[in-house]
């Protein structure tokens, strides 16, 4: 796969007009994310991390500054930047297989090729046996796996993930994290992953960005040198814990503890 997916954010700023004045969500913020990098964004709730992600997705327009993806300015949503939400956002009238092939119509003209690719990724997330099921027949964790398979099969340059495992129980979440890393290892797309779970951020990412309380700025930029592939046991190692302590200290300070 070619190395596309380099993101450059320059002096990005976002304010929201509220009933009682203006709320600054994202302070002027600059950031470069290399192609194929897995970047996690953590910070206290309401710090503007989701807003930042939505601006990269093109779902919100920045008030100032600009976003470049491989040198092209981002002006709206586009298929090179797919977003995964906390809710699976599946099409309830389509089967598991149909949910994947429906979006693939944007990429692949041949129906058989679409189905083959969709099946490959459904197998990857362990849902091969459920390709004919409708979303309402699947558990929340299975639905999110379909959404993950759909996004990965689509193969965007950048995958934007907004607390995608936040609504899942602890066991399912761990499984999803390992699954995501396994599939990501093969296609190495650029990932920007928003979470408030510090363990999750460090476990998944090459680099953890810590955001301040509102208005959001980046107050720390930590490389995560833990070797890959990682297993869940890494979360008990000293290097991991040192990183975790550092991030948590920042966050506690930001929420005023």
């Amino acid at each position: 796969m070619s190395k596309a997916g380099r993101l450059i954010l320059t002096s990005l700023r976002k304010r929201f007009r509220l009933a009682d004045g203006v709320m600054e969500a994202v302070a002027p913020l600059s950031l470069t994310i290399e192609a194929g990098q897995f970047v996690a964004l953590v910070g206290p709730s309401g710090c503007g991390k989701s807003t930042l992600l939505r601006m990269v997705a093109g779902l919100e327009q920045p008030d100032e500054g600009r976003i470049l993806l491989d040198g092209r300015p981002v002006t709206g949503p586009g298929p090179e930047r797919v977003m995964l939400f906390q809710s699976p956002a599946l099409y309830p009238w389509l089967t598991t297989l149909g949910n994947v092939t429906f979006v693939l119509t944007k990429r692949i003209a041949d129906r058989a090729a679409r189905e083959a690719l969709a099946r490959r990724y459904l197998r990857e997330v362990g849902l091969a046996a459920f390709e004919a099921a409708y979303p309402a027949q699947l558990s929340g964790g299975m639905q999110q796996r379909v959404a993950l398979a759909r996004a990965l099969a689509f193969g965007p340059e950048v995958l934007l993930m907004d607390e995608p495992f936040g609504a899942l129980d602890a066991q399912t979440r761990s499984l999803m994290q390992e699954l995501l890393l396994r599939v990501w290892r093969e296609n190495r797309t650029t990932v920007l992953f928003v979470t408030h779970d510090v363990d999750e951020a460090i476990f998944l990412a090459d680099r953890v960005l810590v955001m301040s309380a509102r208005p959001g700025r980046i107050i720390d930029d930590l490389p995560v040198p833990l070797p890959r592939p990682r297993s869940l046991d890494v979360q008990m190692e000293a290097d991991f814990l040192a990183l975790k302590r550092r991030v948590l200290t920042w966050i506690r300070r930001e929420i005023g503890l």
Binding site: M83, P92, V103, K106
Partner: protein
């Protein structure tokens, strides 16, 4: 007994059917007893037998089927006109704040007007022919239906639209290929409920200058002091309404098997 009176605890299906039938049966027995014993003046409440008799008579001289047929046609056409208009307009209102801002104040205003208030205007505009009756049915149905369709469309979750946009679907494509399919089962519920409302305006529409129809027969029976024919008309309307409701529910289940457990 206590086990059947738990909050939201489902009943065994046979028991549910039995309960509904028991209540209806008890009402019928009470009715038959009240009229059969002579405790109630048959002018106010005729005996069940008198209604059966009126039904047989109506079937024999053809008026019952004729009235039913003409009323069914009016209901169907009036409701179809309303639905054909409400689906596209409601979809636009629920999808684009522009169209909602444009139309909502107008619809909201008309919606609160009592339909009988339109009877004089409808006669002034359309005379006493079939169009006047359809217009009343339309007014009674459309202004409610269009807002409910708009709500069905608003029930499509925002992440589904945003997710589709990031996969490269444009606005029009999302409207056609995501919003409409998602909202269809909800729209079917709306159509079923508003069809019931069209039925409720039938008597009003057939009150003025009609020569046939179930509503007309009911009004006529009042004039001739024939309460058994009033009740017969009411029963036929209730029965047809109930049947159409059940058919609609069955059709929705058949067409949209995926919609069980999906918010709509």
């Amino acid at each position: 007994m206590r086990q059947w009176l738990r909050l939201r605890r489902p009943l065994p299906p046979h028991l549910a059917t039995l309960l509904g039938a028991t209540f209806l049966g008890a009402l019928f027995v009470a009715w038959a007893a009240a009229t059969g014993s002579g405790a109630v003046n048959p002018l106010f409440l005729p005996a069940p037998g008198a209604i059966v008799h009126a039904a047989i008579e109506g079937l024999r001289d053809g008026t019952l089927l004729d009235d039913t047929r003409i009323s069914l046609i009016r209901i169907t056409v009036g409701w179809l006109l309303s639905t054909v208009a409400a689906i596209p307009i409601g979809t636009l209102m629920g999808s684009y704040p522009f169209f909602n801002a444009l139309l909502e104040p107008f619809v909201g205003f008309i919606r609160y007007l009592p339909v009988p208030a339109f009877v004089p205007l409808s006669i002034l505009w359309f005379g006493v022919d079939e169009r006047q009756k359809l217009v009343l049915l339309f007014i009674g149905t459309f202004f409610q239906e269009v807002l409910m369709i708009a709500d069905n469309v608003r029930a499509v979750p925002q992440p589904l639209l945003e997710s589709s946009a990031t996969f490269g679907f444009g606005d029009r494509e999302i409207l056609r290929r995501v919003i409409v399919p998602y909202a269809l089962p909800g729209m079917m519920d709306t159509m079923r409920i508003t069809l019931g409302w069209t039925w409720t305006y039938l008597v009003l529409a057939e009150e003025v200058a009609a020569t046939r129809g179930l509503g007309h027969t009911i009004m006529l029976a009042q004039r001739y002091l024939a309460p058994e024919r009033i009740l017969l008309g009411i029963f036929v309307i209730g029965l047809l309404g109930m049947v159409s409701d059940l058919l609609f529910q069955a059709l929705t289940r058949k067409l949209f098997p995926w919609a069980r457990g999906v918010r709509r």
